[in-house]
């Protein structure tokens, strides 16, 4: 694995980690470079962000079905 380019696994892992703490400038640049070229990882990044939005709404579902 080259040091200057991320594999999909590295990019996906960093996308997930970036939701917890902001990556350093170098990592962020490599990640962006990867996401610009790789639709698969871009999809993954959008989808895990969506899953977080959904998770925040989960408690609303507990209010439904009779209460």
């Amino acid at each position: 694995m080259g040091k200057s380019m991320y594999s999909c696994e590295q990019a996906a892992k960093l996308s997930s980690q970036a939701m917890e703490q902001p990556p350093g400038p170098w990592e962020r640049m490599l990640l962006h470079a990867h996401l610009m070229m790789c639709k698969r990882c871009a999809n993954f990044t959008h989808q895990i962000a969506f899953l977080r939005r959904a998770a925040h709404k989960v408690p609303e579902a507990f209010e439904k079905d009779g209460d």
């Binding site: 996906a12 980690q17 917890e20 969506f50 899953l51 408690p59 439904k64």
Partner: protein
Amino acid sequence: MQDDKDWAKSLEAHRKYLQRYALFHLHDAALAEDAVQDTLIAALAQSHRFEGRSQLRTWLTAILKHKIVDLVRKRGRGLPANTLSLDENDSSDASFTSKGAWIDPPAEWGLPDAALESQQFWRVYQECCRLMPQRYGLVYSMREVMDLSSEEICKKLNISTSNLHVILFRARLRLRACMTRNWFGTEHG
């Protein structure tokens, strides 16, 4: 000021909500019942602490979160021991080849936010959360549903930040794959 009986009654009105909340995180009806019972008892004793600045349900949920985390810690529930022994190179749920390429590359989900309005979507979502291995599912739901901070979770479960990141990454991979198989990759999505 409400008297004790009214207070107990207004707490009772939230029991079902609290039970669903606890069950979602604990996956165990008896444990969930314990957490809710502890919460309502604590709330009964602490009526003077509720200042009416927040909604009663919000206040009760905050107590419940603590009770859930306490129960998890006390009973182990596979944490933190199993989490600590988590093998960083565990390939049992591999999403990538040995060279780091996607085995099953993520396709587009279209405009997923429309699904948030569908009751059926929520059933699938909850089922996918339930199907996650406990050690991933609980950390994921503490982070994303309880909305506890990373620092708080690491401290409470006594795990390292990098461990937390690995667990959350694996949980997200699984949940994403499950939602693709059962929702977005089907006629719903």
